[in-house]
Amino acid sequence: MFKGGFISNLPKIYGLYTGGFIVFILLMAILESAGVSAANIGIMFVAFTVAIYALIGYLSRTIQVDAYYVAGRQVPTVFNGMATAADWMSGASFVAMAGGIYFGGYTYMAFLVGWTGGYVLVSTLLAPYLRKFGCYTVPDFIGTRYGGNLPRFCATLVLVLASFTYVTAQINATGTIASRALQIPFELGVWVGLISILLCSMLGGMRAVTWTQVAQYIVLIIAYLIPIFWMGSKLGNPFPHFMLGDEVQRLADLEASAGLIKNSAADMKAAGVPGGLKYISTPHSAVPAGGMAVWSYLSLAICMMVGTASLPHILMRYFTTPSVKSARKSVAWSLFFIFLLYFSAPMLATLSKLQLMDPNLPTAIIGKSISEVQSIAWVQNWSAVKQVFIADFNGDGILQLNEWFMRGDVVVLATPEVAGLPYVISGLVAAGGMAAAMSTADGLVLAISNCLSHDIYYKIIDPKADVRKRLIVARVLLVVIGAAGAYIASMRLTSILGAVAWAFDFAMSGLFFPLVLGVWWKRANQAGAVAGILGGLIAGTAYLIYVGPKFMANTPWLGIDHLRFGIIGASVSAVAMVVVSLMTKEPNAATQKLVDDVRVPSGRAILGKQH
């Protein structure tokens, strides 16, 4: 059945896999109608998909350095696009994004523009050139381009800081989903999540992560789109992406008639609203007025775009393609696969808001009597776990818009239930969320451990280490970093490490200009790079501590709050790098030749196949 190599059979293999997954969903639907409990269906969904990923991870085991670090540089364009999309879309994208749009409206959608627009920077400024360079890790490029161990070490520092901030949130998400689906305590769920992540990555490194990420992308995109199309057809819009114009207008009318009231903090405290729950007080589609609102939208979009182009776990995916040309094309495919989910999220937010608000729909709850709403099954289920809450502020017994509180994640997790879809869909959504969080965590843990094993251990500590020893060190580090992330997640310290946005800000503060100028400005030299990395990192971190709500909590300067500290970091980085480079000697002829070679898309990679 399979003639030829593994690579040439990929479309067939993943075609079968997708078909198998759909058969599995149908089987679960049959079991559900035969009376198998919802809880058991949830367990089977998560256990079955994780077992498949682990099998792929085992089959991709390797003892080759280039297979471990860059998947042997033979990942075809489209498949690398899918793997990048899974690597990119985290548990937060899958579970929290639609909820963010639901409550934040237009302003929150700056994340959508930022998290897609960044790929234009990746493809024009960086990916093809880093591929030509032939590095194993991002600091590998910095270290070779600028020379010496100091720039390499500084870049490693930024990579670890940005990626570790991000990975604890992902392990936390796998723990939450595993604990809910498997009905085990959260602390145990985190370790189950970690073991699943390590099963996918430990034996085969980048090669194993690549092929599991493709499998995870397929699961997560099916799990995200099926509920939207199903719900859309129920409301008479079989293709909701292009047909919700009237619904968006309708929401604006409903908001106007219900009134968007802001609750006072004292009222909410008195009513006992649990922390983290939100209510609708922002218009769905209106653009807030004023120059400051524009700046807050644009500054967030800029941070996310520039941060995207600096995140090492994304950039390293483009080291795995066979050529420069395919690296470039692969960025385009990545964005296409990401786009499929991102342009659906606002539609999911619209549909689920309409279902709660529109009095003409049977699912509506706003405007009904509170006792009636409290007797609905899904409201009871989610109230019991403190994910939704009702506070009758004006005591009229009727549920107003500002009296309904909900955690953002509920928009994705509970919408199938709200719309009255069968439980099999909720199980599917849990499997999708698990796939999204696991795939991102895999990529991040691997980025950190590859960088520490290659750049710190092999390049700085022990350059004579043989292949076996290097790969053992890489695997030990993988386990240690995963365990550290899980330990922090299980202690619920994640909230201290802060938002996912911080990872983008750290990365852009320390890495964006050193990477881009390394390719585009021959005059950039070692002293400049060190100044750029450290200057940006220190300035950004100092500013974060200055404004961060959990730290000094000072009033942000020009509206640049803790989600946007990368603006300060990256500006300082650019100035420091240019000024210091110009004040010191220009790079030697060999380095200038190296930059020239990087700019030519064909020919041998700068660094050897194995280095």
Binding site: L112, G117, Y119, V120, V287, F339, V600
Partner: protein
């Protein structure tokens, strides 16, 4: 000008054009979000639509166009080899 230099000049210009289009869809439209939102597309307010779908779709098309045109530039200068790594 050598082949290598003219290839780099064209590559650079192509990068600048691509980033100019990117700048329009990521920044310029949203600088005027409030007035753009008065227009509508498929029944959606326009700035809402661009932020939810329009700009995202523009980026996808833009990167495919960028990659195809850059390949043409590479081919013209004899840098279009398929597998150059091993």
């Amino acid at each position: 000008m050598s082949n290598k230099e003219s290839h780099w000049v064209k590559t650079k210009n192509h990068m600048f054009v691509t980033l100019a289009i990117w700048f329009f869809f990521s920044i310029v439209i949203f600088m005027f979000g409030e007035s753009v939102n008065n227009a509508s597309f498929l029944g959606y307010p326009l700035a809402y639509y661009m932020s939810a779908q329009g700009s995202l779709a523009a980026f996808v098309v833009l990167i495919f166009w960028f990659a195809n045109k850059q390949e043409k530039i590479d081919d013209e200068h004899g840098y279009g080899g398929e597998r150059e790594d091993d």
